[in-house]
Every structure is written in C-alpha cells, then in structure tokens.
C-alpha cells in the first residue's frame, strides 16, 4: 500500500460545467481526514467547460484540482468516465477516493472500485480516518437503518466510499482561494456501448429535487386523504421548501414516487425536515434522519418519528398545518 497518497473527492459536474453540491459537501470531511493524516485534499473534476466547478472546488477548500476537461465528458457515461478515472487513479495513486452517492456516483464508484480491485463502502453517514492505520472508518446504515456498521478497507488502496447528498455540509465559500490546477488528458475514449440518447424533462408534478432541497415538508398516511396534501404544499410554499412524502402516501396513490423519502425513495439531508402525519417507520427514518432540524407533527404521542424530532407537535394535522402556515407567513412578512 506504499506510495498511495492524498484524499480525492470526485466533483460531479452538471452539463453546464458547475459542480453538483454533494462533491463540494464532501470537501468538508475530506479536509478533516486529510489533516488527520497529513495528506492533501484533491478535487478531481471530469467535465466539459468546468471552470465554475474548478472555482467552487478551490473556494470550498481543495488543496489542488485535477481537471479533465473535454467535450467527450459533457454528459456522464459509465464507460468513458470509468476509463478516465482509472487512468488518473493509476497515475496518481490516491489513498482515498470519495464519491457523492448520486445516480451517477452510484453508477461510477462500484465500476471503478471493481476495475482497480479495491473496497468500496456505499452511502456513508459518518467518516473519519484512523491516524495510526490510515484506514478510513466508513460508517453506514444497513437493514433499512436498523443497524449501523463501521467498515474498513485494511489491505487495498485506494479505499473508496460514497456519501449521499446532504449528509455533510459545505464549508464557507472563500472565493479568494486559488490553488494549483493540473490539466490532465487521457487517451481518447473508444465508442461506448451504452450511452445517453435523450433527456426527458419531467412533468412539473414529478420535478422535485429533494436531495438538494434545504427545506422539505413531507406528508404521510396521517393526512387521511389526498386532498390534504394541499396543506403540506401550502406549508412548504410558505417556508420556501419542497414537498416530500412517506412510502405509505405514495402507496395510497396520493403523490408520485418521485417525492418519496426513505429507503425505497430518496435519502435527504435538508436544513429543516417537517414530517406531517408520518409515523416514522425505520425505512423512512433511514432516508431523513441526517436532516439538521426535524419537526414532527403527529396526533399519536408514541409515534416513533418523535424519537428523531427536535421539535414535536402532538396534535391534529388539519388544525396544526393551516395555523403553522399562517404563522410562518406572518413571521416572514414581519421580517420582510
């Protein structure tokens, strides 16, 4: 394992060359781990016209940026990105590589880990590094959140892991930071066998980016009927947030699956999560317990959602929600 050095964070870019939030979030634990073992923190950016992502990586604390900027990287492609990352990994031999567990991160990370025969730990919720052994302590939930496991990759490098968006918070942006950017090139990609041919804009009701939302108001079976989701939506609008749901509400057909938070839905980590009429099955908790502040509204005082709540209102949703929405609107109007 000699010769492997530095903590890498793969910074995913969008097609306009900006960094996806989760990559910047990962610079936070990456910084800590790099400092613990005296390594550098390096942002790896593979994209097209990715200047904005480079600037962000610098501003959020990378010590160096390795950049692969080429038209062929404009859209994510499993084969092209795996080949490119393999070349970089073999050339620079990083000690650790962190991936955001987005759809693309979850496509790329297992592929590259398998390619270079190393260990990968998915969807970590805590990260630290053992200063003596240099082994990252990858902590992750299993069995639908019923169990937490600490995983190590003791005998191979690089050690790799992924983290869901929202689990870590971005540091403070410092646009005055400038660091070295290594402009890399890799061998031109061969024709890939699988590729994107079309993007489909979702219907408006399905367009919801829960993973990057700062405020989420979710409704569950306790709402009683689909019309009552309007109360959830009204509160979300008042708070400037988006609407989520429990699986039960999706199963009832009250709201599309795209809104579902939890093990078979999305994993979220907003600043504020409001759970309305959600009992708090462990599968739901697995998807939202990393939220900074959790507010639960439920008429059952024994609901397990209260176990993770910072603020708990025991009461009738149909009365509490409109009152809370009105109160939030009033407060906002006062502040404006």
């Amino acid at each position: 394992m000699d010769g492997y050095k530095n903590i890498w964070v793969w910074i995913e870019t969008s097609s306009d060359g900006a960094a996806r939030s989760v990559g910047l979030e990962l610079l936070t634990p990456g910084r800590k781990m790099a400092d613990t073992i005296g390594h550098s923190l390096i942002a790896v950016i593979i994209g097209s016209g990715a200047d904005a992502a480079v600037k962000s990586a610098m501003a959020y604390g990378a010590d160096q940026v390795i950049l692969l900027d080429d038209e062929c990287f404009a859209h994510y492609n499993t084969e092209i990105f795996t080949d490119a990352l393999q070349e970089l990994v073999e050339k620079y031999k990083p000690d650790t590589v962190l991936f955001g567990a987005t759809a693309n991160g979850r496509d790329l990370a297992p592929r590259i880990a398998s390619r270079v025969h190393t260990g990968l730990t998915a969807d970590c919720t805590e990260l630290s590094i053992d200063a003596e052994t240099g082994n990252v302590q990858w902590t992750r939930p299993a069995f639908g959140g019923n169990l937490m496991a600490v995983i190590e990759c003791p005998n191979t490098r690089p050690q790799m892991g992924s983290v869901r968006p929202g689990v870590f918070k971005k540091g403070l942006r410092d646009d005055s930071r400038t660091v070295e950017v290594i402009n890399e090139t890799v061998k031109p990609p061969a024709e890939s066998r699988a590729k994107i041919v079309e993007f489909i804009a979702d219907a408006a009701e399905n367009m919801v980016n829960l993973e990057e939302a700062e405020i989420i108001v979710s409704g569950g079976r306790g709402l009683g009927k689909p019309e009552n989701f309007e109360l959830v939506k009204a509160l979300a609008d008042a708070l400037g947030g988006v609407v989520g749901s429990s699986r039960a509400a999706v199963d009832e057909g009250w709201i599309p699956h795209a809104h579902q938070v939890g093990q078979t839905g999305k994993t979220v980590g907003p600043k504020v999560y409001v759970a309305c009429g959600i009992s708090g099955a462990i599968q739901h908790l697995a998807g939202m317990s990393e939220s900074d502040t959790i507010i639960a509204i439920n008429k059952d005082p024994d609901a397990s959602i209260f176990g993770v709540a910072d603020y708990a209102i025991v009461g009738d949703l149909l009365e509490v929600l409109p009152a809370l929405t009105a109160e939030v609107k009033r407060l906002k109007a006062d502040k404006a």
């Binding site: 499993t78 084969e79 795996t82 987005t102 759809a103 979850r106 496509d107 990370a109 297992p110 592929r111 880990a113 398998s114 390619r115 190393t118 260990g119 998915a122 302590q137 939930p141 299993a142 069995f143 639908g144 959140g145 019923n146 169990l147 937490m148 496991a149 600490v150 995983i151 190590e152 990759c153 003791p154 968006p165 890939s192 066998r193 699988a194 590729k195 994107i196 041919v197 993007f199 489909i200 367009m207 980016n209 993973e211 504020v272 462990i282 317990s289 959790i294 176990g307 993770v308 709540a309 910072d310 708990a312 025991v314 009461g315 509490v320 809370l324 109160e327 939030v328 009033r330 407060l331």
Partner: protein, 265 residues
C-alpha cells in the same frame, strides 16, 4: 432472447425488530422475501417475455434456503433457476460477490446459452449498497445502465429509461448488457395456484465453487477488501422539544416562534 435475472433473498426489513434489552437486531422469525427491487427486475423481464419469444433464467447466491426465493421467481415468470451456494462464498463483500456471480453466470451460460440482458435490482434492501450489479458488469466487461424504470428491446439493442435526481434519461446499449432496476410504474404480477405448484416441483441445480470454477482467493472473506469492524443499533431518542398546547393554533404559534428564534424561518 435469453435473459438472466439475479435475485437475492433478504430479510423483510420492515419486519425487523430491535431487542430493547440487548439493543441488538432480532433476526429470528423475520420472514425472508425476494429483494423488492429484484422482484421489479423480474417483472420487467417477464414483460419482455409477454411480448416476444424469450427465456428467463434466475440465479441467486446464498444458502440452501434461498431456493425458496428462487421458487417464488419460477411462479411469476422465470423458466429456470440456479442457486450458487458454497461455504467458500460466505462473507463475500460486493466485489467478491460480483466476481463469483460473473463466474457463475458463465457456468449457467454453458447450460442455457449466452444471455442477452442481465437484470439486477437496483439495490438489495438489507445492504442497500447498489454495488453488486455494476461490479458484476465490470467483471464481465459489459456495458451497464443503472436505475432504470423501463426497457424496450429493438433489434440488436435496448433502450432504457434511467431515473436520476435531475430527471429521466433515455439510454441505448448494444447487447449483451447489464441493467439495474428501480421501481417501475407497475407492480410485480402474482402467482397462480398452477404456477405455484409447478414452481414447487421444480428442480433447482446448485452450483458450488467447483462448478462455478471461482478462484477461492477471490471469493468469500479472502476475496473481500472490505471488513465490517463493528456494528451497533442506532439509538433514536433525541429528546426534542415537545409542544402540546390545548389549541392547535397555540402549538403552531409556539413552534413558529421557536423556529424563528433558531433562525430557521
């Protein structure tokens, strides 16, 4: 069309309880089910078979009890099932599992002919890693399309709808290809009494490490770069602030005030 569906038998995580005295997982009596996403994958494959000439083979790695899961698959569209089972495979992480499955697939292909499409669930609901499918594809050096909710087969290629945070993408791939499946806009079909009885009678060949011809050094714990260092049951009692006023409006007002004080509104 020759289709392989990889399935995993998992404990039904909705039925797992915690022993409050020892703070450990109670595994006894927890029903085993076909992993939810694998059931979606099988249904997607079965829908291909509904419209064209196709054979569906299911394969699972696990202990002898996993035959039960395979029989459930045989009752809802699968034509043939194989169990990959050997003590040497236990303790495999996703890298080793991907390797073993790739070797096992070659052994199955020797019997069933080469597969055009390999279906996996997006992830298993016990481990939730979403790694085994892509790692199997990498061991096979096959293209992959992950997290799909729809597929159509056109001549020599497939077209699949991939679900991402930012919307849907349409991908195309040549065959053979491996796909991983998320929740499609339909539910898996139910077995009938007739298909259940036929499935119960089916012989399920067991492939051991010898038949799979897997390298023991790359299998099981030996072939697994990751180690579980420890596990613990998360404790869920945040001791948050409980608001329970007589009138809902007062509760709402109090909460809004607290949120405002905390700078959250």
């Amino acid at each position: 069309m020759n289709i392989l569906v990889c399935v995993k038998q998992v404990p039904d995580t909705t039925e797992i309880k915690i022993n409050p005295e020892t703070n450990t997982l109670i595994r006894e009596g927890v029903p085993s089910i076909v992993n939810t996403f694998d059931a979606f994958a099988l249904e997607m494959a079965a829908r291909i078979k509904d419209t064209q000439d196709a054979k569906i083979v299911v394969m699972s790695m696990g202990p002898d009890q996993a035959k039960k899961a395979l029989k459930e698959c045989l009752a809802v569209g699968a034509d043939k099932a194989y169990l990959v089972s050997d003590r040497a495979f236990s303790g495999s992480d996703t890298l080793a599992t991907g390797y073993i499955l790739s070797e096992a697939m070659k052994a199955v292909e020797a019997q069933e002919g080469p597969f055009d499409i390999i279906f996996c669930g997006k992830q298993a609901i016990d481990g939730d890693t979403a790694q085994t499918g892509p790692q199997l594809a990498e061991h096979l050096d096959y293209p992959q399309i992950t997290c799909i909710s729809d597929i159509t087969v056109e001549d020599a290629k497939i077209r699949a709808t991939r679900e991402t945070e930012y919307g849907k993408e349409i991908w195309e791939s040549s065959m053979p290809v491996l796909v991983t499946v998320t929740k499609p806009p339909y539910e898996p079909r139910y077995p009938t009494i007739k298909t259940k009885m036929a499935a119960n009678k089916a012989e399920i060949p067991v492939l051991t490490i010898a038949e799979v011809k897997a390298d023991p050094e790359k299998s099981g714990l030996k072939g697994s770069p990751t180690r579980v260092k420890k596990t613990y049951v998360p404790v869920l009692n945040k001791n948050g602030i409980i608001i329970k006023e007589e009138m809902a409006a007062d509760s709402a007002k109090k909460l809004a005030g607290l949120l405002s004080d905390a700078g959250l509104v």
